[in-house]
Amino acid sequence: MSSAQATKNCITLKGSAQIIVEYLKYGIHSILFQRGIYPAENFDSTQQYGLTILMSKDPKITTFLQNVLSQTEEWLSKNMINKISMVITNAHSKEVLECWDFKMQAENGDNQAADPSQRTSSKDQTRIQNEIRDVMRQISATVSYLPLLDCICTFDVMIHTLDNTELPAKWDETGAIVIQNAQAVQLRSFSTGLHKVETVVNYKMST
């Protein structure tokens, strides 16, 4: 009885990676919609975190994110990711206009086991969801101060990993991106007990 109770509120590293990847999925879709990067009619609304979130219907976008995020989940469950950047570029001039950083920080959890895969967190699921909801709310509110993306845009997801990461098939290594005259705004952070995720938006100041 008591053991059943204990496992119920337990988050493993894998579960933590799952929660974060789910947040990334909804976050990126929400950014794509809120920033008006793709036509609004290509989005469907779903309910998540107690919010209505618009998800892209474009099969190319969904498969791209599916591929990227499944790999991300694998790396996250091994604590190999420092940061995930969603980069918005002008499709014609390739200039970087905006960069959403999701910074990952490993946390110890309750039992500071030496083997990270044995660590667990007893943080309440609903509390995590509420924290994520607050960040999602902030993402949709960023429209009020971010500059208008008045051009055809595209986006990419860059994963900042550890040095010893092996390059999987169909993946490339790229350089760091630079935004000219950048301004950074940090949104709220949330934590699963095993990962802490900070969301920062860097954008080009319109002169």
């Binding site: 009619e41 290509n42 791209f64 499709a91 208008l148 595209t154 490339d172 949104l187």
Partner: protein, 532 residues
């Protein structure tokens, strides 16, 4: 030698001003504060951007009204949470590593100032203060650049690899405009008064059009930008000058042949005529002279559409051909998207898409080819929702991706399409065959031409599709409509062999009055001036 000392002193003073003058830099304060054991300063609120200098009054680091015990508890979970639970977005520099950045800046600037001191002492003996100012300001610019560089480097200095997936996400479609633009553009709010306006429901003028061919699949009238209406009557093509009322016969076809479609070039006096033998003729109407004949179709040409030097023709054989009117080899490409006669053809208002409607009940949308000339050989969208031939096509002037199409007797629907994603926006049953559609340029309205039972023209509000007015008068079905170059008048050609002019989109009388009063004021002032 004392002057050298003075110069170097001066320079040092100028160089160092970023650090020594004004309040102590924030990183220093932060360090001191953390030494003092205060924990609030980690959430310091900054109101300066990267590129402004460090001077500036430091904002209070703690918002009152929250006990520090509560915060220390929470800071383990969400340290960046704004006090009071509000959502405030303040650009901050928590993302940058100040200690490292400061180290990098100082290291570089230290080396440089040494170099420059050397230069100043060795090369120039009579340096005046002017020159040092220039140097100092140049140094300042460099320094700012350095700071911004370092700030960014310091943020990402963890090392490691940056990986990305090879198959990138697609860019948005070319015709997409950011819907947020509305938020940024300043516009007077839409007036709250009812949308109804006075629309004269009788025709302003009626012209006889004897022998006008009653054929649903032909397009026998067009109104040019130079205010000339071209109309085919029987085997002849006539030009009616709407300004002067002059009538001129352009050409007469041989016995049994006739014009199947007429279309004016966007600007100028070139008229394209598609004839019953399958050729497209170009006429210069100012000289009443035929310029060239472009063949290619095996059956009559019932629809034409211009796109600058390109004329697209749709034929009874089901093909659409793009002709480049400038070159000897005029045929650019042939599109085989319809299995039956092509009776509707329109380029979008931004000339990125071509819409075609056929007797096979299809509406095809073709996107501009990669080369910029003609269209791709495969249709971008095939809309098969209409239940009858589609002849009426119109592109919305204020939403370039919106296409309106109207079906024939068996269908009677006006449908609106979004060509970005190929979805049906709206469908309205008009209760009568739709022969022609036009969007107004002055109002968010469109006009449709109908046949049995009332042979009326209907004005609809868009996008609500509320019926605004029925313009009746024709005694047989209305086959074709064209709009005057000023957008105020619509001409309709009916199977009752009349052309009727409707002044249904005249600009708002209130707006007209306003501009008139401005004019009269201007006149008055001129008058006064002349007296003086």
């Amino acid at each position: 030698m004392s002057q050298f000392n003075f110069v170097s002193d001066l320079q040092n003073a100028l160089i160092m001003d970023g650090e020594t003058r004004g309040p102590a830099p924030r990183w220093k304060k932060k360090m001191e504060a953390s030494l003092n054991g205060s924990q609030n300063t980690t959430r310091s609120v900054l109101s300066v951007s990267y590129n402004t200098s460090f001077s500036g009054v430091q904002a209070p680091t703690k918002t009152p009204g929250k006990s520090s015990e509560g915060k220390t508890k929470k800071s383990t979970t969400t340290p960046t949470k704004t006090p009071g639970g509000g959502d405030r977005f303040i650009p901050n520099r928590a993302a940058t590593n100040f200690e490292l950045a400061h180290f990098l800046v100082n290291k570089d600037s230290g080396e440089k100032s040494d170099e420059e001191n050397d230069k100043a002492t060795t090369s120039n003996t009579n340096t005046n203060s002017n020159e040092t100012n220039v140097q100092a300001s140049a140094h300042k610019g460099e320094r700012q650049k350095l700071i911004s560089e370092v700030a960014q480097v310091a943020g990402d200095s963890k090392g490691g690899r940056i990986l990305c997936y090879q198959n990138k996400a697609p860019a948005a479609p070319e015709s997409h405009t950011n819907p947020l633009k509305v938020v940024y553009s300043i516009k007077t709010p839409i007036s709250t008064k009812s949308g109804s306006r006075y629309i004269p429901t009788t025709s302003e003028r009626i012209l006889d059009a004897p022998d006008f061919i009653n054929d649903y699949y032909l397009n026998l009238m067009d109104w040019s930008g130079d205010n000339i209406v071209a109309v085919a009557l029987g085997s002849c093509v006539y030009l009616w000058n709407a300004a002067s009322g002059n009538i001129e016969q352009l050409t007469e076809f041989e016995e049994g042949d006739y014009a199947g479609s007429l279309s004016w070039i966007q600007e100028g006096q070139i008229l394209a005529i598609g004839n019953s033998t399958g050729a497209v003729e170009l006429w210069d109407c100012s000289k009443v002279k035929r310029l060239r004949v472009m063949d290619g179709h095996s059956a009559r040409v019932g629809s034409l559409a211009w796109n600058s030097f390109l004329v697209s023709s749709g034929s009874r054989d089901g093909t659409i051909i793009h002709h480049d009117v400038r070159s000897r080899e005029h045929k650019i490409s042939s599109l085989a998207g319809h299995s039956q006669e092509v009776c509707g053809l329109k380029w979008s208002t931004d000339f990125k898409y071509l819409a075609s409607g056929g007797n096979d009940n299809l509406v095809n949308v073709w996107s501009l080819a990669g080369s910029g000339v003609g269209t791709a050989s495969e249709a971008l969208h095939k809309f098969n929702e209409h239940q009858a031939a589609v002849r009426a096509l119109a592109w919305c002037p204020w939403q370039p991706s919106t296409l309106a199409s109207g079906g024939g007797t068996a269908d009677r629907c006006i449908k609106f399409w979004n060509v970005n994603n190929g979805s049906l926006i709206k469908s309205v049953d008009s209760k009568s065959q739709v022969c022609s559609l036009l969007f107004s340029r002055h109002y968010k309205e469109l006009i449709s031409a109908h046949g049995f039972a009332n042979n009326q023209l209907t004005i609809w509000k868009y996008p609500t599709m509320v019926k605004q007015a029925d313009l009746t008068g024709h005694t047989s079905r209305v086959l074709q409509m064209a709009m005057s170059p000023d957008g105020s008048t619509v001409i309709s050609a009916g199977a009752d062999e009349t052309l009727r002019l409707w002044n249904c989109f005249a600009p708002d009388p209130l707006a007209a009055k306003k501009s008139a009063s401005v004019n009269s004021k201007a006149k008055q002032s001129v008058f006064r001036q002349s007296i003086r």
